[in-house]
Symmetry: C2
Subunit: 355 residues, 2 copies
């Protein structure tokens, strides 16, 4: 296993310099000797010590991926796609989970990446100017996902217009009292980032556009999880004038919303409409209407953008499309129907979430 360049050189009858050049396809080696070296290396099962080449070249051929959490569909998906692209380009990927503020601070203050990675992909976190500087000072190329920063590569979506489109769908169905459930960071966490806020902006714009007055009570925020969504919906249920529809900033939260509505005995979409965000793979199971934002593609994009920067290219800024995916959790509000009290359908067949 510990076959070194020297053993290969010996076997191939050349110098170590030649071995090094031949094996890395550096120009300036005759085809004949290149083959001889390659063969010798193969026979010995040789592969260069990464530590040694890193020390000599200063390049690590690995990139870091930074996420707020791993155990979420969105991040699993995006990381999977990104690592695949990165690996094809010959890079290893180092994983960093920055779930708490403490972890985040330690990470950005410690120059931990220096000499460990050539570049880093930061997901769903809006790094501050200082944090970004710390990264570049460590010699890192950086690409952002779900955030933007002057001079840095990034991929994101237009969350404002996505939020607007979502709420318009609800307005078009005839809803007027439309709530918003968004993401608020916990004391100690740092998830969320800006997209959720932009979605809120879109929500407000659509309402204003339609002449529907806003209502603070209708905007609820919680942790980005099933439980967080459930908690937010529970609060909505006890407001003075309960809404007839809600736009939820993430599908996972929307799942929690569905759960609460079911437990409250409300029928979706007859009594209440729910619209999520992400197009989570399980949307189809519960019939959740949602906003798709090309999650897999975003993962590939951000990897490619970083690879470009690593090769000396300029930092690209991409924007992915968002589109409404109508399933079965949105419908016209009940009050608008002809017979509000008498059940207007068998009601138990074909309803979303009814297995």
């Amino acid at each position: 296993m510990t076959t070194s360049v020297e053993s290969v050189a010996e076997r191939a009858g050349v110098s170590v310099s030649t071995v090094s050049r031949a094996l890395r396809s550096v120009p300036g080696v005759s085809a004949a000797t290149r083959k001889r070296v390659q063969d010798a290396a193969d026979e010995l099962g040789y592969s260069a010590s990464p530590a040694a080449s890193r020390l000599a070249t200063g390049r690590t051929m690995t990139v870091g991926i930074v996420v707020p959490v791993l155990a979420k569909w969105f991040f699993g998906k995006v990381i999977g796609e990104a690592t695949h692209t990165l690996r094809q380009a010959g890079f290893d990927v180092l994983l960093f989970e920055l779930g708490t503020r403490a972890q985040r601070e330690r990470f950005f203050s410690s120059a931990h990446l220096h000499g460990r990675t050539d570049g880093v992909i930061i997901m769903a976190l809006q790094p501050s100017k200082a944090e970004l500087e710390s990264l570049t000072a460590q010699g890192q190329a950086v690409a952002l996902l779900g955030a933007e920063a002057q001079g840095f590569g990034s991929v994101s979506v237009d969350n404002v217009s996505a939020g607007r489109a979502a709420v318009r769908h609800l307005l078009n169905l005839g809803h007027e009292r439309i709530a918003f459930i968004g993401i608020r960071d916990e004391e100690s966490s740092n998830l969320g980032g800006v997209p959720p806020l932009q979605r809120l902006m879109g929500y407000r714009e659509a309402l204003a556009e339609a002449g529907v007055p806003g209502d603070d009570m209708l905007e609820q925020f919680d942790e980005n999880s099933v439980d967080g969504g459930a908690a937010a919906m529970s609060r909505l249920l006890v407001t003075e004038q309960v809404p007839t529809a809600v736009f939820v900033a993430s599908d996972e939260m929307a799942f929690g919303v569905l759960k609460v509505l079911r437990k409250a005995g409300l029928d979706v979409p007859r009594d209440f409409s729910v619209l999520g965000f992400d197009n989570h793979e399980l949307c189809d199971v519960v019939g959740l209407t949602t906003m798709d934002h090309e999650v897999a593609e975003q993962g590939q994009d951000v990897a490619r953008i970083l690879l470009d920067i690593l090769q000396g290219g300029p930092p690209a800024n991409l924007s992915r499309a968002v589109r409404l995916v109508v399933r079965e959790t949105t419908a016209p509000p009940h009050v608008l129907r002809t017979t509000p009290t008498a059940p207007d359908s068998p009601h138990s067949a074909g309803h979303p979430g009814t297995p």
Copy 2:
């Protein structure tokens, strides 16, 4: 940024050897000089070049985590827990996704880990003897999750008895025609591993125990996903004598099962009972009855086991408990009820999956 040991040594007025010792808390340095060195390092923002120390020590202080797929709740959860434990011990984690047979072969044949990691955690993959040897030949410590191998650390659960317990629950409810939906690898993929097979064994044992004759038609296999589960259930629906319940080897597949049943107009659990495996975080949303196997704990376990091996300890083999979590997708079979035709309840309230 490129502050070296020398600059620290100079500033502290000591030799580089002393700096090296002081900074790594190696015994044999007076408290006074240790502090002086520490201060100098802090002032200079110094941190040792990983490549250089790796080359000098031969230790990388990083471990690899190998998974079949990233974009699944189970793996996200387990990786999250494992990386957390690893990071606390000062290790970085390198991620490897081996979704296809080709990727798997390349990985195990290329000595890619050599010099990159000190150890590796292999998840939900049953490595062959040769693959294991390749890893140890590369000097890797190895710990397995969801698999076992002579002489290697591992954490798993008793899937046979778990399968038995699951099916017994169904039998106790009065079901006799009970189907099994398991995981079969695609041509090109290598997911699954042994646990799914053991769950099948448990299913068969429980049936035999109860004197219920087996039926090949009742055992369906597909890809481990919502779509795979849906496809398998669709096949079950057209068997000659449709079963009244199914034990599904993974929750994600069970979600697909629920979807198909809903589309077929069947009510769960009135017309059909479904029992999953994993206790996926979304079980609660659709009310899926399932088998919990302490997923988060398994992630921590496997990391700790590897850390122990890395510190010279013996390879531990842990087994985690499995327990039935009854929710709302299992009930006595319809045919056993007193009034088979007339609905015996309001039937639309409180049903699983009805939001």
